[in-house]
Symmetry: C4
């Protein structure tokens, strides 16, 4: 089994997740500018989640590119990642309706955290399947971003109960950290003959 169908299926699910989030933006009630005002928080939430899902799609792309074969374990690790990404629309909708509230903010960060852990687990699974001398292991290296992100998310969960705004700032920061696509993988792959 090669990675093509796994990529195609993941693309399909991610494409639908990114588009389903837009359904949370309800058609405004009135026909004037004031009717748009309640849409601003959900809109900002949509922008942030779109960014996040875009980052995941982007890095997922590089990750699967580095996978040379697909095992049953990789398949389920991938489904696990897709599961947590599929939680984005509902938590985005909740934060959008109650911006600044502690519990929705905390739950949003928990989902971000679990998605990050699922991504990390998928990475581990691919490396394990490649055995010693894994191309991906060398490409990932020390993986500072991969280690620091879950720590920041965990901090974000705690902050959500004290100052939700700070927590939201924190996960915007992590998003910016990841915005740059993971060049390491591409580079090691390019060096390979």
């Amino acid at each position: 089994m090669n990675t093509t169908r796994l990529e195609a299926f993941s693309d399909g699910v991610i494409a639908i997740i990114i588009t389903i989030m837009v359904l949370e933006l309800k058609v405004p009630r009135g026909a004037d500018l004031a009717a748009l005002k309640p849409l601003i928080p959900p809109f900002l939430g949509y922008v942030l989640s779109f960014l996040y899902v875009g980052i995941y799609w982007n890095n997922h792309h590089h990750l699967l590119h580095a996978a040379t074969k697909v095992t049953g374990a990789i398949l389920w690790a991938n489904l696990n990642l897709l599961f947590w990404l599929s939680m984005f629309p509902v938590v985005t909708g909740w934060v959008g309706e109650h911006h600044g509230a502690s519990v929705p903010t905390a739950l949003y960060v928990v989902v971000l955290l679990l998605a990050a852990l699922a991504y990390w687990a998928l990475q581990r699974t691919i490396i394990a399947a490649q055995g010693p001398g894994s191309l991906l292991r060398r490409a990932v290296g020390v993986d500072i971003k991969g280690r620091i992100s879950p720590a920041l998310y965990a901090l974000g969960v705690l902050l959500a109960f004290r100052t939700p705004a700070l927590s939201q700032g924190l996960y915007l920061l992590v998003a910016l950290l990841w915005l740059v696509p993971d060049r390491r993988i591409e580079q090691v792959l390019a060096d390979e003959p």
Copy 2:
């Protein structure tokens, strides 16, 4: 006609089914932890159905891999399977809203049963199209899991009217039975020169 487009279309439909189920998880009403409580049963229902659809996608993948040509009969057997999978979101939503109730539990198992029969019919159709000496027939062999599952589902329908919890435990068991991807097919294909 080769299997590529059939796979791509099935992937599309399954990707949408898996994501549509998440729409049943409505944005909570309040902004505190208590508001999350009514979401727990639908969430567990979503997890179980995600697992089931993931298992079907996984095995469907192996099955079509073994199909060497696509006939009209295979096409319709495949659409029949997709039809029953497309029933998952609505029955999952129903069980999620009335967990522990007999009729929703029974209907959920009936849909699982019909999907299992549709899968089995698709397998038969592919084997029939390959004629005697079918690769898939040898790969599938005695097919214990394929024979035992419908029987367990049928038992589950009956149990749903007596002790729904037991019925739900039963279909969790069948899910676990199938969680291991069908290595038989891959193995016979790998042995083939």
Copy 3:
């Protein structure tokens, strides 16, 4: 430009249409068998529309297979077909809620008719793009089914205002007419060296 991306995009749209229709099946209100009763007409409507969309997907597959190149005209003829197929969910939902009523039945048949004409126009456009000696033209031949279907649909619109049940029987008949995939195209393609 080759047909691959056109096929992939059409597959995506059709996969979504077929799955969106299932959203019309709302989760029942109660938890007993009686709660399922109001779902029967929408369910039957869903089955019929699933069948229709499946038939279109099937024949569309054969049709694009016969297209050797993609022109701007083919692209728009294809989008026109997808547009009318995208009307299926809403008219299916309407007939499902008011089964036996004249206007919903008539509108359903009108959409079937326009989809059939769009399919026919797509076929014409592909033949025109292939110029004289078109493979598809020979494959299609006299095209009895293609000629008789619009006539039957037109009759169905009239019947909808007199005896809706007869009209519904008529479009079930046309569906059965088309259930057999279009072997003509495959055969001519197979004969070609």
Copy 4:
């Protein structure tokens, strides 16, 4: 990284956007012809947006065809375009419910304008990635349509507050301008050995 997965993902998102818009067409309340009347403005809005998304898909297809490699910048420029296209369903729904109102009309044009700018930015990014002697730069040439469209949209925003009908006429005009697929790119590509 090649353009295949980028195309596939974009196709997925666009296919879903085009189909999600149909969800704004609610099943009518009654069962007679009068029940259809409130559906006419949303239906016309759907037709126009379907046309627009179809045009974007068509030209996007040509654009990515001309991209020889995919950089991180192209990836994000593409996601930016998809983001603005994903705004179509909600603004289409708003205009459909309040046709002739200034603010919804203006917002619709603003989204059209931002999508046009995102398309233009994607084009610039691909040209920049190809460096001097870019194939796409020669293909696009002076790009009269690309320059005139944003100007017309900006005019449309202003007009929306005076005579919304004129504004709507203007963006129908721009749609017609773009209906003809961008033959320039294909031609230059065809000339290339």
